[in-house]
Amino acid sequence: MSVFDLLMGALLVASALAAVTLKNAIHAGLALVGNFLALAVVYFALEAQFLGWIQIIVYAGAVMVLFLFVIMLLFDAKADVGPNPLPWMRPIAAALAALLFLALAYAYSSLGPIDPLADVKLAGGLPKALGAILYGGWLYPVLLVAVLLFAATVAAVVLVQPQIRKTRIKPQVLERDRELKEVGR
């Protein structure tokens, strides 16, 4: 464990804490960007270069920008203000998080030593090695991810369509709606 490791760890934790506590949503979002960048650096340290790049490009570059964009779009920067109907939620959340961490940490304490040949096998996590795996054994999930992204696009379009499409509605359908209202209410 080097100084670098400690530094990155501190950065990660600090930015994460900032992301979940800062009152201003834009600040929190920025903290999260920082966290993601730090994480990318950690990936490099973990022999996962391609992952690190992707992290920077997709996460920090695209996803978080999207987030910040939405935050600003919605003028919702000062979101966590106003009366809180669940004031006791914060300590409970903290306690639950702490317990979760402790349980996981306890589980990790039973881990064995690192495989001495690990970094050789990982080959630095370069695209070439990773690509062989992704388009080899992982072809199926990758294809599925394509479907997923397609489905997500459709879903997102459905969600943000601002107006109800004006279609010609059959008269008997309208009559039925009226009927339901009459009898139901």
Partner: protein, 608 residues
């Protein structure tokens, strides 16, 4: 087949009259019913003369045959039932004249005869029980014949329910016998009991339970309360059912089971005690009655007590003998009373009678014959049979003398109330209104026959050394009790004594109720006696009303139970409502609860 015919004929009469009787004109139903009963009588007679018969369906119920048996005992009893029954049927044609329920009445009567013959001819206890309940039903129907009067309907119900108490005893007794011997056929039981050296435990209980049945049917203490009320029925019914035949079924049951009771000294003793108590109670209650029929009714209770005394002390044939003589004179008394009531257009209070001798000469003779026979006037039927009973008690090893003295005392009372009845109705001056008229021949002729019986029937069984036809005839069907033969001198001495007692009683009764001014204590006694010593009141207060309350209480308890279950249901609903605050709609709470679930799972799964 003969046997089933004996039962079936009246039953068919019942069915026919019940379904189509309305379309028949008076007196056709009466004639039909009487004829059928008469044919039954002839069939019984034929059966008796041809030496008995038996008939059965095997395994009518599993292990229990439907068996009928005509032996000497049932033949004898059957002759009494159908014979007296026939006479009363005939009488009723006159008595029920003009009643709108004429055909219904004869339907019921025929039904009664059928059931009574089932009872008598039964070769197994369940069959007897069919008849037993059947006559109870007939009694219910006939007591409540004029059901539009609430009192009559109430009396009918009371009779049935009281009888049911006894019937429960009968049922349980049968269950016990079946449990011990695996059969309920009377001949089989008889051979089983006679053949076994060691009697099963609980046999006494069986005997006692059967006796409880007899107590109910024969209106013995403490189940006697229904019989006086049963007088609500038409008088021929009182004569037939509540005097001559049905009420003696209890005696018949004990006699039929004599092979059992002869082995059960303890139970027999209880029977004798109950018998004498009932005899005394009936006689004392009869003394104070003002209703012409109630006197006879209490007298019936008393006489039935005598019969039980007889079977209790083991004198089975004498009891059966008394059944016959009693049937004659008590039927006669009832029918004579009926004739009186008929002639007075329904008047039953003897304080409004008197001097009827003049108006109703034939009936007067019938009444006199009946009363004297009941009182034990020497040489009349009642004298011989009653004397035989009282004498037999002396042979009883367990306190026979006490029974004897008590029996004699009751005989004295019997003579007094018999005379009181006769004197107040027929002697003295007529105190009522209206003009009494003698009954038609259709009513008096049967009474003539009965009167002959009441006078001469005793001659069938006379003390030694004179002839006795009844005892040897019945002997094969009854258990025999070894008794110490008493000397002829002693026997005839006792006979004389009872004759004297009867005569004294008759005189006392005649004197007291026609000439004397009665003392003050008698007035008190009169009141108590009239109310039959308030037994009804006591029963109502102690038993009937609490049971009614119990029913209400149980109903209430049931509702409590119901609401208990409802509470259970609503409490789970309550629980659900208490839980539902969790589902408050806050997504963060849901998240926290999920996290809590995960944390619990993890902490427990990892730290375990």
């Amino acid at each position: 087949m003969l046997l089933i015919l004996i039962i079936l004929l009246p039953l068919l009469g019942f069915a026919y009259l019940g379904l189509f009787g309305k379309s028949l004109k008076e007196p056709q139903p009466g004639i039909l019913a009487s004829a059928l009963t008469g044919i039954s009588f002839l069939l019984v007679l034929w059966g008796v003369l041809s030496g008995g018969a038996s008939w059965q369906i095997k395994d009518w119920l599993p292990g229990i045959p439907f068996s009928l048996l005509l032996d000497h005992l049932s033949g004898y009893m059957g002759l009494v039932v159908t014979g007296i029954g026939f006479l009363i049927h005939v009488y009723a044609i006159g008595y029920m004249h003009g009643d709108e329920g004429f055909s219904r009445f004869f339907a019921y009567l025929n039904f009664f005869i059928a059931m009574m013959m089932t009872l008598v001819l039964a070769g197994s206890y369940p069959v007897m029980f069919i008849g037993w309940e059947g006559v109870g039903l007939a009694s219910f129907l006939l007591i409540g014949f004029w059901y539009t009067v609430k009192k009559n309907a109430d009396s009918a119900r009371k009779a049935f329910i009281t009888n049911r108490i006894g019937d429960l005893g009968f049922l349980l007794g049968m269950a016990l016998l079946y449990g011990s011997f695996g059969t309920l056929s009377i001949p089989e039981l008889r051979s089983a009991i006679n053949g076994s050296y060691v009697l099963p435990m609980g046999l006494s209980l069986a005997g006692l339970l059967l006796f409880v049945g007899a107590v109910g049917k024969s209106a013995q203490v403490p189940l006697m309360v229904w019989l006086p009320d049963a007088m609500a029925g038409p008088t021929p019914v009182s004569a037939l059912i509540h005097a001559a035949t049905m009420v003696t079924a209890g005696v018949y049951l004990i006699a039929r089971s004599s092979f059992l009771y002869v082995n059960l000294q303890d139970v027999s003793y209880i029977i004798a005690l109950v018998g004498i108590t009932t005899a005394a109670y009936g006689a004392l209650s009869a003394l104070g009655q003002w209703d012409i029929k109630k006197i006879v009714a209490y007298s019936t209770i008393s006489q039935l007590g005598y019969m039980f005394l007889a079977v209790g002390v083991g004198a089975y044939w004498i009891a059966i003998f008394h059944v016959m003589t009693h049937a004659f004179y008590k039927a006669l008394l009832f029918l004579a009373s009926g004739s009186v009531i008929h002639s007075l257009d329904g008047e039953q209070d003897i304080r409004k009678m008197g001097g009827l001798k003049k108006y109703l000469p034939r009936t007067n003779l019938h009444g006199l014959a009946g009363a004297l026979s009941l009182a034990g006037f020497p040489l009349l039927a009642g004298f011989w049979s009653k004397d035989a009973i009282i004498t037999a008690t002396l042979n009883y090893p367990f306190g026979g003398t006490g029974f004897y003295v008590a029996g004699l005392t009751v005989a004295l009372l019997t003579a007094i109330y018999a005379m009181r009845w006769y004197a107040l109705v027929f002697l003295g001056e007529y105190k009522g209104e209206g003009r009494p008229h003698e009954s038609p021949a259709v009513m008096t002729v049967p009474n003539d026959v009965l009167a002959l019986g009441a006078v001469f029937a005793g001659l069938l069984a006379l003390p030694k050394p004179l002839w006795n036809l009844v005892e040897p005839y019945l002997a094969p069907a009854l258990a025999h009790v070894e008794v110490h033969e008493m000397s002829l001198a002693l026997e005839w001495g006792l006979i004389t004594l009872s004759a004297v007692v009867a005569l004294v009683g008759l005189y006392l009764g005649y004197a007291a109720f026609t000439r004397w001014a009665l003392p003050k204590w008698y007035q008190t006694f009169q009141t108590w006696s009239e109310k039959a010593f308030y037994v009804d009141l006591v029963y109502n207060t102690l038993i009937v009303n609490p049971l009614k309350e119990l029913a209400v209480l149980l109903d209430w308890l049931d509702k409590i139970f119901d609401s208990g279950y409802l509470l259970l249901a609503s409490s789970s609903k309550w629980l659900a409502e208490q839980l539902s605050w969790v589902q408050a709609g806050y997504v963060r709470v849901y998240g926290a609860l999920m996290a809590l679930g995960l944390v619990v799972l993890l902490v427990w799964g990892v730290l375990r």
